[in-house]
Amino acid sequence: MQETDDDAVFEARFHALRDHVDQHVEAEETAIFPQAAHVLATHLEEITVLLQERKKQILTS
């Protein structure tokens, strides 16, 4: 019984997480990214390199 309750709690929380992620994706892709592409234009290459290096570092360090 306890396990069933816990599963239900997890399901609810996971569902909430999905909602938050959807909300976040929507906000970023409609508002932040278009503006970022504009204002970061000259820095985008530099930021991309930073992101790629950091990602590689996280996955392999």
Partner: protein, 177 residues
């Protein structure tokens, strides 16, 4: 190319492991890897940046998602915004696969992928992308960043007190810095 059939513990000793991601036991990982086929799919205009995590179209089944290993080839889009957008696509595809899977055991594996993706995404965006954008953006842009940070905090909070401690650890606020 077929995935290795030997049991692996992805990310053992890596930074992601230290963030609590992929503490799956060998049996679990082995079951996943034995079914996984490593594919390099073209997603939209760019190639998947994380084939070692998974490459998936929206409708691929869970078992086409390979478990990540540090030795798999590293491919990244050459544009920061494309890279972050690719993260979004992949995590949304995983959520859909979780919803489509009736087996709780497989759901657990998919959930681990979701937490790994989100953790990695936050580790990239918070210290690099947001500060760079906030520096250049106008007031409205700065407000959008504050809002985005607030939503991602709520995302972590929504899973913190959960019965599956190995999947929870990666989403604690102190582990994402």
């Amino acid at each position: 190319m077929h995935a290795p059939t030997t049991p692996v513990t992805p990310f053992r000793g890596t930074a992601l492991a230290r963030h609590g991601v992929y503490s799956l036991d060998n049996a679990m990982a082995s079951r996943c890897v034995s079914k996984a086929v490593v594919q390099t799919e073209v997603q939209g205009e760019y190639q998947s940046h994380a084939p070692h995590i998974h490459t998936c179209k929206e409708n691929l089944p869970w078992h086409s998602i390979p478990m990540p290993t540090a030795t798999m080839p590293y491919i990244s889009p050459d544009d920061a915004i494309a890279l972050l957008t690719a993260d979004h696509r992949q995590v949304r595809a995983l959520f859909q696969q979780y919803a489509d899977t009736p087996d709780p055991y497989l759901q657990q594996i998919i959930a681990e992928h979701v937490f790994a993706e989100l953790t990695l995404h936050m580790l990239l965006k918070k210290p690099v992308f947001y500060p760079a954008f906030a520096e250049q953006a106008d007031e409205e842009g700065k407000r959008l960043v504050r809002e985005a940070r607030r939503i991602s905090s709520r995302s972590r909070n929504s899973l913190r007190p959960c019965k599956r401690p190995t999947t929870m650890r990666c989403l604690r606020p102190d582990s994402t810095r």
